[in-house]
């Protein structure tokens, strides 16, 4: 079926199987490979995207449910080839090892800091509880969130 939706502010369309998830549409239909496919059951958060402004696991959204709606992916964060302040903080804090979980975490952290510019470590852990990382042990990710919070550009 043909699905039309807005991705990162631009209209897109893709012809997908009816049972396809939003994740499948983004990757296989639109070739946006920043959003990762790992568990396909909402456990790992590596497919996190914004759907009408709310962070969701794109693997659990039926592609048809996203039709006509606004989706923002990790590809929408960099501007003019410049990493966002959250992406830079991840690099500088060394919060990336294999990097597979990073796009989902960057999305979740960007969303968190937009709502709560100075979260406590407890809030950070709670807010990122849906994003699994099997390499870092999380401490450097929390360091990256704190670093990003310090540098968050005023809007």
């Amino acid at each position: 079926m043909l699905i039309r939706l807005n991705v990162n502010g631009r209209p897109h369309e893709a012809d997908v199987w009816e049972g396809t998830s939003l994740l499948g549409l983004l990757r296989d239909g639109l070739h946006l490979f920043g959003t990762k496919n790992a568990c396909e059951q909402g456990e790992c958060g590596s497919c996190s995207v914004w759907l009408d402004g709310e962070v969701v696991c794109s693997c659990l959204v039926l592609a048809a449910q996203a039709s006509g709606r606004d989706v923002r992916t990790v590809e929408g964060l960099a501007e003019n080839g410049e990493m966002s302040y959250v992406q830079r903080a991840f690099v500088e804090a060394g919060a990336v090892q294999c990097g597979f979980c990073t796009p989902g975490l960057v999305v979740a952290v960007t969303d968190l800091l937009a709502r709560d510019p100075h979260p406590t470590d407890e809030v950070i852990r709670e807010e990122l509880s849906g994003n699994l990382c099997r390499c870092t042990g999380y401490q450097k990710i929390i360091d990256a969130v704190n670093l990003a919070a310090e540098r968050r550009p005023s809007l």
Binding site: M1, W17, E18, G19, S21, E40, Q41, G42, E43, G45, S48, E54, V55, V56, C57, C59, L60, V61, L62, A64, Q65, S67, A108, E126, E127, S129, G130, N131
Partner: protein, 280 residues
């Protein structure tokens, strides 16, 4: 696979009547897992996530009405009372899951581990369902949840929501699992102290084929409270034992039956102590 995309409830009910084999999807946190893993290939899917009629959450005449499409995030934000339903909603999955998962999904899936279900049971909630042919009907929670992943919903019906009397009194939801987030309950327990009816109601999740009420323990606690004094440690133990006795657990990948019984007793003692401490 046909995907049906109704915009209003009447349209959705007409579609469901015409395609009783259509599987409803809202947040997709259960349905999409089955599709992604190839465990389910429904002939049709009906998306109920855009129906405005299912999105309401309101307090009216001493009752709380929650539409089937209300997400856990909205329950936390809009109930705003730190009560058992808010506590249960906070234990569901992760922020991403809570943004999508709905109360109606918990009811429709009818897993014994559905976190909101012990709360509905402790509140003696009513479930409202509807069909195009017969209109809406209201069923008590225990008539709706008939077994593991089985409900009284007819093939042409959709779940509209649940409602319960707003209870004056303390209460809590507690859950045992292997971590704080992203966990399917090994045991879930909701205790409600209903000051208006002078009742203690206790409901258990994940320890039986469906949600169970610990009625013997409820009577015992009511008797103790009617005598108007604080509960003794022995009586608290007895209450825990009676709650554990109401469980009908099995051994499975998440825990053994004996561990679950033990956890029921521990959670029950804690929940009653908290409620009494809050009451004083």
């Amino acid at each position: 696979m046909d995907v049906l995309l109704p915009r209003t409830l009447p349209e959705a009910l007409e579609m469901k009547a015409a395609r009783p084999d259509a599987r409803p999807i809202a947040g997709g946190t259960d349905v999409m897992v089955e599709i992604n893993f190839g465990h389910a290939r429904p002939a049709a899917i009906i998306d109920v996530s855009r129906l405005p009629e299912l999105a309401m959450l309101r307090r009216e005449d001493g009752f709380i009405h929650v539409g089937a499409g209300v997400t856990y995030t909205r329950l936390i934000r809009e109930l705003d009372d730190l009560g058992p339903m808010t506590q249960a909603a906070r234990t569901v999955g992760s922020p991403q899951i809570r943004h999508r998962g709905t109360l109606g999904g918990n009811l429709g899936t009818a897993s014994p581990a559905g976190d909101a279900l012990p709360v509905l049971a402790a509140y003696d909630a009513t479930v409202e369902v509807a069909s195009a042919a017969r209109g809406s009907r209201r069923i008590s929670w225990n008539e709706f949840l008939v077994g593991p992943k089985r409900t009284a919903l007819q093939p042409d019906e959709l779940i509209l929501g649940a409602s319960w009397r707003a209870v004056r009194g303390a209460g809590s939801f507690s859950k045992v699992g292997t971590r704080n987030a992203m966990v399917i309950a090994v045991v879930g327990l909701c205790l409600v102290l209903d000051a208006d009816r002078q009742q203690v109601r206790v409901a258990l999740g994940s320890v039986g084929p469906t949600i169970l009420r610990a009625t013997e323990a409820e009577h015992f606690a009511r008797g103790v409270l009617e005598r108007g004094r604080s509960i003794s440690p022995e009586e608290l133990d007895e209450f825990g034992t009676l709650v554990a006795g109401a469980a009908r657990p099995i051994d499975d990948v998440r825990g053994t039956a004996s561990y679950r019984r033990l956890a029921c007793a521990v959670l029950a003692r804690r929940a009653l102590s908290w409620a009494l401490a809050e009451r004083c």
